[in-house]
């Protein structure tokens, strides 16, 4: 078991460009101890802004430190959504597909849910207009708050490292 992998492998892992055999090997072995920090560094290098990434939040989204006690959800284009414990979807541009016509734009005939039972919500970044997430819910159901990470516990008890701040970065 390597305690750590070379930087190139972690970059390939982030890009999903590893060969299956290699990926399978990494999954089967004990986890490398510095995997999180290595992945975080690769991601940090790829964004154009300075705020330190605390955790990757979803595809294109991160929780970043604005100060030692303020963390926000930010897109890789630089657009900032909200505080880390709020639902970023409320700040997103939303397209709702709740009719047969709207469904038929992206589904073959007869292959989509009935609009009376399910609506499709597409969330876009107001900054770069990237499609960030899609959820399929009953009409009237509130926006799903998918993930509210416990950052203190993760840093203190799981990886035993200080939480990055703008000063430490």
């Amino acid at each position: 078991m390597p305690d750590t992998y070379p930087r190139e492998i972690i970059e390939d892992l982030v890009d999903d460009s590893l060969e299956w055999d290699q990926l399978h090997d990494m999954m089967s072995k004990f986890k490398d101890t510095d995997r999180f920090q290595q992945v975080r560094e690769v991601l940090q290098e790829r964004v154009d802004w300075e705020d330190p990434i605390i955790i990757p939040y979803a595809e294109h989204l991160y929780i970043v430190a604005k100060s030692a006690d303020r963390w926000v959800i930010k897109c890789d284009c630089g657009h900032e959504f909200c505080e880390h414990d709020q639902n970023w979807k409320r700040e997103a541009l939303i397209n709702v597909r709740d009719s047969t016509e709207a469904y038929r734009e992206i589904y073959p005939e007869g292959m989509h849910p009935h609009p009376d039972y399910m609506e499709l919500r597409e969330f876009f970044c107001p900054g770069c207009k990237t499609l960030l997430e899609v959820e399929n819910m009953m009409p009237g159901y509130p926006l799903v708050h998918t993930f509210e990470p416990d950052i203190e516990t993760f840093y203190d008890e799981w990886i035993d490292e200080p939480i990055p701040t703008p000063e430490s970065a």
Binding site: M1, M27, S28, F30
Partner: protein
């Protein structure tokens, strides 16, 4: 039966068994007196016959013999290669294969089935969904054509064969220069008429185009249910096995050129050997260590042991198999190269733990874990000439003084005990807060506990108790752990052959010349009909299937000019009570079931088998019976290796057997331990533990409170006296 290096030109080699592996070709050569020697040479993938000749010469060298004067005396030659299996593993073949299948089923190879996404993986990778992945299919999607037709599960035609689809598909595939066209239609094992007609139509087009393409029908090769397995196997036959025919022919020519007067046979998964001209070659891609099972069964037949559990520990795995009434169980859907196949294969359970298994401390749980990876033949960190850097189980043996660093593999591999101790301390003992030898003992205990649990599960899981069995232990690493993994299980006896390391090779030499064919059936014997009526209907149908399979075997043997009267036939069924999911394997006492008395005998044998496996209370003859598969085996007698036979002398080992004693670590204590030369012990000798018996390729460990005696066949009988 020891390796002999005497220069003795009077010897007459009889049995030659050669295993061409990925890198090395190993030879096992036995003379008319039952003595054997081994040889090695590099495998030559371009022309395997060169490796075959070199390896044979290496073995003959030991006896000071020349190949041209020795080959004429051979009476049995068994060859097994890995080229076929490699084509599957690498998904690379020199031939181009096209497939015609039932319309709508064109994606069968890509979709596979759930089990195929984790088959062949380690236990933890089978448990975790994120490590599952469907394997690469053998055939590209654009080489597969659908044909409209449909046969149902009972063999009725639901949709007739659309012959124009066949013609179009064949022409299309011929335009793509295919060497073989594989035809697999749904339920063709029940009704092969559509496949047959397809072959006729295809042949007309092939002949008209003057092409050399062959047409292979799944119903001719593997008439068994489950379309994925049937298609995988028929494709494997075309893709991997057929291209090997030329290599095997080269090997045969090499034997002929050197004056050999014997047909080369190939080891097959069903536990027999077959001719290189056999129609079905795919079953010679063996991926399991079945040689040892064959050897054990042969040994058992000679010595009167009917029920045996075979255990084989090598560097990477622990393999277990059961022999009952001198026959093994068959696995009808084995896995090779991550593909599920439909081939009869001697059933063995394999666990990814061996003497070369890596030992690591799990950083999350602070526990010692073994494998699943291993150093294999690189032994461990203490083998200083290799580049292994993770501690292995063998390193622990070295640290504990069980293995003599000066005498590992007869001294061929330099071992450094200080390195073993240093690395165990650093990698295992310190993180676990243990002493070095305590940690080493812990590792050995974990391995032996694991093997013991697995072994018990295999025996009791099949419905038997260990007390009905003799446990046979072999393989390079087996005898080091035999006492540990059999402790407390209550086997009738525990046997360790002196030639444990060469036992699998011995087994390959002991294989019968045997063809075996299977056919899926759905023959119901209803409970409320008379035996006369059942014999006229179900019995007659079973007899017909048997006799068709018998014809296939006669046909195979006739390829090698062996007539029907030289063949011994055995008949088998898979049977169940009507409506059950699983069938049991029954060796039929009769060759025909179309008379009431004979069918009754067959059913009685089934009832006895069911009672043995599941208990009297579980029998349910009132449900009626279903025969789900019929099988026939045809065997022709061949020369077998001899089992040593020596007159026992007294219990006291001869002077020459004693080596200087040393201290070894046993369960927390350093004890002075007697060391013996395994090969100098004589039949009748008794030895008690703590002792280590050292041989050329095997170390037999006798812990305190154990004793062993060597019998007239040079097999040790291990006993717990505590």
């Amino acid at each position: 039966m020891a390796t002999s290096e005497d220069e003795d030109t009077d010897r007459s080699p009889e049995v030659l068994s050669i295993d061409a592996g990925g890198t090395m070709t190993d030879t096992f050569l036995m003379d008319e007196g039952g003595e054997f020697t081994i040889g090695k040479a590099k495998t030559t993938p371009d022309d395997e016959s060169r490796g075959f000749v070199n390896s044979s010469e290496d073995a003959l060298d030991d006896w000071g013999l020349d190949i041209d004067e020795s080959f004429p005396s051979l009476t049995s030659t068994v060859y097994s290669g890995t080229a076929m299996l490699n084509r599957l593993v690498e998904r690379e073949s020199e031939v181009n294969v096209g497939v015609l299948t039932t319309g709508g089923m064109e994606d069968t190879l890509r979709m596979g089935r759930g089990r195929q996404s984790y088959t062949g993986y380690s236990y933890s990778d089978r448990l975790h969904v994120n490590t599952h992945k469907h394997p690469e299919p053998l055939i590209e999607r654009d080489m597969i054509r659908g044909v409209r037709e449909r046969i149902d599960v009972k063999g009725n035609e639901l949709v007739p064969l659309y012959e124009d689809d066949v013609r179009e598909g064949v022409k299309d595939l011929l335009d793509r220069d295919v060497d073989h066209i594989v035809v697999m239609f749904m339920h063709s094992y029940q009704n092969e008429s559509h496949e047959r007609r397809t072959k006729e139509l295809a042949q007309e087009i092939i002949d008209a185009q003057d092409a050399e393409t062959t047409v292979m029908l799944s119903s001719e090769y593997y008439p068994t249910l489950k379309e994925l397995q049937r298609l995988n196997t028929t494709v494997a036959e075309a893709y991997a096995a057929e291209p090997s025919r030329e290599q095997l022919t080269n090997v045969q020519e090499a034997v002929d050129d050197h004056g050999g007067d014997i047909g080369v046979r190939v080891m097959a998964s069903h536990g027999g050997t077959i001719d290189i001209e056999a129609n079905e070659l795919a079953r010679t891609m063996i991926s399991g260590p079945i040689g040892g099972m064959i050897g054990a069964n042969y040994f058992g037949r000679q010595t009167g042991y009917e029920n045996m559990v075979c255990t084989d520990i090598g560097g990477t795995s622990f393999d277990m198999g059961i022999i009952i009434d001198n026959d093994w169980e068959i696995d009808y859907n084995p896995e090779m190269a991550r593909l599920l196949l439909t081939l009869p294969m001697v059933n063995m359970e394999s666990v990814g733990a061996g003497t070369g298994s890596y030992v690591r401390v799990n950083p999350t749980f602070d526990t010692i874990e073994l494998g699943p990876e291993s150093a294999g033949d690189q032994v461990g960190v203490s083998a200083v000439e290799t580049d292994v850097d993770t501690v292995t189980v063998t390193d622990c043996h070295v640290a504990m003084g069980w293995i003599d660093p000066e005498n590992f593999l007869g001294g061929d591999m330099p071992i450094d005990r200080a390195v073993a101790e240093r690395e165990i301390r650093e990698q295992v003992a310190t993180p676990m807060n243990l002493g070095v030898h305590e940690a080493a003992q812990g590792v050995v205990d974990i391995l032996e506990n694991k093997l013991r649990n697995d072994l018990e599960a295999v025996v009791t899981g099949a419905g038997y108790s260990p007390s009905n069995f003799k446990c046979l232990s072999y393989g390079g690493g087996g005898p080091v752990h035999t006492a540990g993994y059999t402790r407390g299980l209550g086997f009738d006896e525990v046997l360790v052959p002196e030639f444990a390391a060469a036992f699998s090779a011995f087994g390959c030499g002991a294989a019968d010349y045997e063809y075996r064919y299977d056919q899926t059936t759905s023959i119901d014997i209803d409970p409320n009909v008379s035996m006369e009526e059942a014999a006229d209907t179900a019995g007659a149908r079973l007899t017909e299937v048997w006799s068709n399979l018998e014809e296939k075997i006669v046909d195979e043997f006739s390829n090698s000019n062996i007539g029907r009267d030289e063949i011994d036939f055995q008949y088998h069924i898979l049977g169940q009570y009507q409506g059950q999911l699983n069938s049991i394997d029954i060796t039929s006492p009769v060759a025909k079931a179309n008379e009431p008395e004979k069918l009754e005998q067959l059913l009685e044998t089934f009832e006895a088998g069911y009672r043995r496996q599941y208990s009297e209370e579980a029998r349910s003859p009132e449900l009626g019976h279903t025969i789900t598969q019929a099988s026939v085996r045809g065997v022709q007698n061949v020369t077998k290796p001899k089992i040593p036979e020596e007159e026992p002398v007294g219990p006291e080992p001869p002077e020459a057997a004693f080596k200087s004693p040393r201290n070894a670590y046993w369960d927390g204590n350093w004890l002075e331990t007697r060391i013996y030369d395994l090969h100098e012990l004589e039949p009748g000798n008794k030895v008690s533990g703590p002792a280590v018996l050292e041989g050329a390729a095997t170390t037999f460990v006798l812990p305190p409170e154990y004793e062993t005696h060597l019998d007239r066949h040079r097999v040790h009988h291990l006993k717990h006296t505590g």
